[in-house]
């Protein structure tokens, strides 16, 4: 600690200044032990919540409490920025509920959550002075923007003589380690990623939640006007209109997350033994993805719980990596993105194929607002907007439709719509998935196109999903509910929904659209192949499946495993 403060500050103020001066002269901060032999110092901790909105498995928070005299948990929020940001009402509501949950959990421990309005670069200097902060703790944020922001704050903290402690708990592993083990570049195939991960030690075990005893040792000074200064804003304060807003399907917060976890594990018990290929398009009461994104649930807690159950049930020593499916995909994309600030765009992104996407704001709006005329697509986008979550098959369907399947619009546009509406859209996972689904990266074959009629029908033959989210079509029989424009006029009238009047006509001819787009993709990949020296006459390639342009890298990578 380069800036020790004497315990009793009502001595001559010069004493403190003397220490400050001498501290400034020191080249490197002295060890804590050295300092404590000089003076006894007060440790005033601040834990900065960003993601990691939980009290369980929170090593950074534990570090804040460790040997501290006081602790304050802060969340920094700029309400003005809220209106401008690309974040929809469901995401804000989820976050606010998570903050409420944290606040109430902290209340039970005789503390509170301090929601500070403003920007971190403005807020922290003020707080450092006001609260005499000596230690700032935060959970490591591996995303490029996060690293930059935190770098600046840590530097600023050092200038104020505030010790900082950063701990990794948002991902299972140390991502830099994975990158190192892959010849200093992130694995770009999931199989390669899995192989490397299988060679790592298990993720660090999750820590217990903070306890009353811990908190008693470092009480929080709660001012009388706490609720005026540091309260959690309401949706209205952030500029949203809430009249008629239906209740949230996904309740935010750590408590909800942990409840869901136990329900999820109960379900897993019988899933582990029989391979059930269920696909429920509806929001699941055991779904966990939004909670992982906000950090209401620790990914390591989930990991170890799954592992325990599997080992108990299957009596085998090592669970297969497929058990952790969702968690590893999340980790994969975080790893791919952590050193790539351009990960969320095509231009300037070294891993992204440059594809001549169309610019068509009208078509994009129809897709985003569920007005494409394809009930399957429209129902999915409606559920997304209303509830903030859709099944991954539904994501594949709408992503394919927007990009390489039908509309030929850039994946970046789709990514932004998801960012606004989807509760579990991490920056890394969202961008990575969009690149994957649009065949822009990660060596995907582009031949398989999801039909906006057939794929829907095969996923939900009953058509009930459509009826639920596009009620105007509810009287259509199964035969036509996925393609109402093909129904005879008499039937349309009988169903009180005439296509072109009560429900839009299909915005594109799918057969023609997909034919065109597959040609476009072929053009792109053939040129790539050619530049890579893999084909001599690019205009003549008859193969539909493209030779992986990085074929040598991909296979040799894997073969060496």
């Amino acid at each position: 600690n380069p800036n020790p403060r004497p315990r009793s500050c009502n001595h001559a103020p010069n004493v403190g200044k003397v220490f400050e001066v001498s501290a400034a002269v020191l080249v490197s901060p002295p060890s804590v032990d050295f300092c404590s032999t000089l003076i006894s110092m007060v440790v005033n901790s601040v834990h900065w919540f960003r993601k990691g909105l939980r009290l369980h498995d929170n090593p950074a928070l534990q570090e804040a409490l460790n040997g501290a005299d006081t602790v304050r948990c802060v969340y920094i929020l700029d309400p003005w920025f809220a209106g401008a940001a690309n974040v929809g009402i469901n995401r804000w509501r989820f976050l606010l509920e998570a903050l409420e949950d944290l606040d109430s959990s902290l209340k039970k421990l005789n503390s509170r959550l301090f929601v500070v309005r403003g920007q971190p670069t403005d807020v922290f200097p003020r707080l450092f002075k006001e609260w005499n902060v000596t230690r700032l703790t935060l959970e490591y944020d591996p995303e490029p923007y996060g690293k930059e922001r935190d770098g600046a704050i840590i530097k600023m903290a050092q200038e104020f003589g505030v010790e900082t402690a950063v701990r990794n708990s948002h991902t299972l592993y140390n991502l830099d380690r994975i990158i190192e083990m892959n010849n200093n570049s992130p694995p770009l195939t999931f199989k390669r990623f899995q192989t490397i991960v299988s060679r790592l030690e298990l993720p660090r075990r999750p820590l217990a939640p903070i306890t009353q005893q811990q908190m008693n040792r470092c009480p929080t000074q709660i001012p009388d006007n706490h609720d005026q200064l540091y309260s959690i804003p309401s949706l209205e304060e952030l500029g949203f209109r809430t009249e008629g807003l239906p209740p949230a399907v996904w309740r935010g917060g750590e408590s909800e997350a942990l409840e869901r976890l136990s329900r999820h594990l109960d379900k897993k018990v019988w899933v582990a033994s029989t391979r059930v290929k269920t696909c429920s398009l509806y929001a699941s009461p055991t779904g966990l993805s939004p909670y992982l994104r906000f950090g209401c649930l620790s990914c390591r807690v989930l990991y170890y719980n799954l592992r325990e159950i599997y080992m108990k049930l299957c009596k085998r020593s090592t669970p297969p990596l497929s058990l952790y499916g969702q968690l590893l995909w999340r980790e994969f994309f975080y790893t791919a993105a952590t050193n790539n600030p351009n990960f969320d765009r095509m231009e300037g992104n070294p891993i992204c194929v440059q594809i001549p996407w169309d610019q068509n704001p009208e078509a994009l709006a129809k897709w985003a607002e569920g007005r494409t005329g394809f009930p399957w697509i429209d129902a999915i986008m409606t559920q997304l907007r209303q509830e903030g979550w859709i099944h991954h098959r539904a994501r594949h369907a709408v992503a394919c439709f927007l990009t390489r399947g039908d509309l030929w619009i850039s994946w970046e546009s789709g990514m932004k719509v998801f960012e606004e509406l989807l509760l579990d859209a991490d920056w890394s996972v969202n961008a990575g998935s969009w690149m994957w689904l649009s065949c822009s990266a990660f060596f995907q074959q582009f031949f398989h196109c999801y039909c906006p009629v057939g794929f829907g029908r095969r996923t939900d033959p009953s058509g009930d999903y459509i009826r639920r989210y596009i009620p105007i079509l509810k009287d259509y029989p199964n035969r036509y509910i996925y393609e109402p424009w093909n129904a005879p006029e008499s039937l349309q009238k009988a169903a009180n929904c005439v296509v072109g009047v009560h429900y839009p006509k299909p915005m594109i001819n799918h057969a023609e659209g997909s034919r065109l787009n597959i040609e476009r993709m072929k053009q792109v990949y053939q040129q790539l192949s050619h530049y890579r020296g893999l084909s001599k006459k690019p205009h003549q390639s008859m193969n539909i499946m493209h030779q992986n342009v990085w074929l040598d890298q991909k296979w040799s990578d894997v073969a060496s495993c």
């Binding site: 999931f190 199989k191 391979r275 993805s289 497929s322 499916g325 969702q326 995909w329 999340r330 994969f332 095509m346 231009e347 001549p356 996407w357 169309d358 610019q359 068509n360 991954h392 594949h396 030929w408 850039s410 579990d424 996972v429 994957w436 689904l437 995907q444 074959q445 031949f447 398989h448 196109c449 999801y450 039909c451 057939g454 794929f455 095969r458 093909n486 799918h510 057969a511 023609e512 997909s514 034919r515 065109l516 597959i518 476009r520 053009q523 040129q527 050619h530 006459k537 690019p538 205009h539 003549q540 008859m542 193969n543 539909i544 499946m545 030779q547 296979w555 894997v558 073969a559 495993c561």
Partner: protein
């Protein structure tokens, strides 16, 4: 890209010819420099004078530079400016026509276009136009085409990178621009005009002027062309080696014309079968016509892309057909895939986007047995039991160089689980293999 690399548009110069030229040029420079040394007499090396570089070397260097760098170099001095305008550097050009409102891509600068038309239109031989989805871009392409009066093009490609904007251009404008090229070139070898409003009369003009030289013609989705129009091309252009068109243009007569004695061996025939309306009827092609094709061109590739509803496959795969590359862009039934196994002995590549929810075990095994040339297969939304899949791979063995199967396709059974199957398959393929995955989050 803008550097006009000839390799991209298909020029077939041997690399050795270039190398020889380069070596000659280097010899010349060395000789020049040693002559100067002697003239100086003092034994001092002369200053490295870039202006001494002979044109042949400059040309060679410039050919390696992207267009923008070449343009900068041309500003350095008169000599380099002259080099910049050497005809050899203007044989190939790709015009990129994009509007900022409809594309993220940059466009070829209008001033550069003007310069090219003014100074180099008679040097151009391999030209392509890449346009975005705006009509202005397609019209700009037509305007340029209309001005290529002194051009003797060997290659012309009209490529829409997004929506087919050439179809939005008034037909007469497009046709007149295109016929300028047809009439003036007289030695067109390769023509790509997919998704354009080209019509029968303009094809007649093409044939009248270029029948001896035409080798490649790609015209998928040209709705104004009739079977008679394309037949005229096949009848007259006996050097045609590659042809791409839609199924409605295909006829027995066309195939017979392509297999006539006068005609060279066809290398590549691509056919798109696209459904305009559900329940559309498609005509059939006689087996004898296909047989004639195979007899005449035993090694030709027949590539067919199907974009049909499941119940529109009636006319297809009832007889033997020499398909080599087969793509089903929408769902195709088990029954049809069964017929494919029976009637496509020359099959090399098979891609199935979707099938349905019943396993394709028997159909795949039949294909493995009877399609002995099959080396690439891709399965999207289908189902196959793990055992049947292993059996399939075992039967195909190492000839399967491309095996792209979505993970959800494979159904574990009593013999194999998902985690075990990729080892089995890898074993039979002789290389590491695993299914394609989709993120689940």
């Amino acid at each position: 890209d803008h550097n006009g690399q000839c390799e991209i548009t298909g020029q077939q110069d041997g690399g050795t010819l270039e190398l020889e030229k380069e070596q000659q040029a280097c010899k010349k420079v060395r000789k020049q420099m040693s002559e100067e040394l002697e003239a100086e007499g003092s034994g001092e090396s002369p200053d490295c004078d870039w202006s001494l570089l002979p044109q042949e070397l400059l040309l060679h260097i410039f050919q390696h530079l992207p267009l923008l760098d070449r343009a900068y170099a041309s500003q350095v001095c008169r000599g380099w400016n002259e080099a910049f305008h050497m005809p050899e550097l203007w044989r190939c050009f790709e015009f990129e026509l994009n509007q900022p409102a409809s594309s993220y891509l940059k466009a070829t600068h209008p001033d550069l276009i003007k310069q090219i038309i003014k100074r180099h239109s008679n040097h151009l031989q391999y030209v392509s136009f890449k346009v975005d989805s705006s009509t202005e871009s397609a019209e700009a392409a037509c305007d340029i085409l209309s001005q290529l009066v002194n051009c003797s093009l060997k290659t012309l490609g009209l490529i829409s990178t997004a929506r087919p904007s050439f179809m939005e251009v008034p037909k007469s404008h497009f046709i007149s621009a295109l016929t300028v090229v047809f009439v003036n070139s007289k030695s067109l070898s390769s023509l790509k005009i997919d998704d354009t409003p080209v019509d029968d009369p303009s094809l007649k003009v093409l044939v009248a002027n270029n029948s001896d030289t035409l080798k490649l013609l790609k015209m998928s989705s040209c709705p104004h062309v009739s079977p008679a129009g394309i037949l005229c091309v096949a009848d007259q252009c006996h050097g045609l080696r590659e042809l791409a068109l839609n199924y409605h243009l295909l006829s027995d007569d066309l195939l017979l014309a392509l297999s006539s004695e006068k005609h060279v061996h066809l290398e590549h025939l691509r056919i798109d079968v696209v459904s305009e309306n559900p329940g559309q009827h498609f005509h059939t092609i006689k087996k004898s016509s296909w047989d004639a094709m195979v007899r005449h061109s035993p090694t030709f590739n027949l590539v067919m892309y199907f974009f049909l509803y499941e119940d529109e496959f009636g006319p297809f795969f009832n007889d033997e057909i020499p398909i080599t590359h087969l793509y089903f862009g929408r769902s195709v039934s088990k029954e049809v895939l069964g017929r494919v196994g029976l009637h496509c002995p020359r099959l090399v590549e098979l891609v199935v986007c979707a099938n349905g929810l019943r396993p394709l075990d028997e159909e795949l095994i039949r294909i493995a047995k009877r399609c002995t040339q099959l080396s690439a297969i891709g399965l999207g939304e289908c189902e196959v039991t793990c055992s049947a899949f292993v059996e399939f791979v075992k039967m195909c063995g190492r000839r399967l160089s491309q095996l792209s199967i979505m993970e959800e396709v494979l159904i574990p059974d009593h013999k194999y689980s998902l985690d075990e199957i990729h080892w089995e398959v890898s074993k039979h393929l002789g290389r590491v293999w695993f299914p394609d995955m989709m993120p689940t989050w």
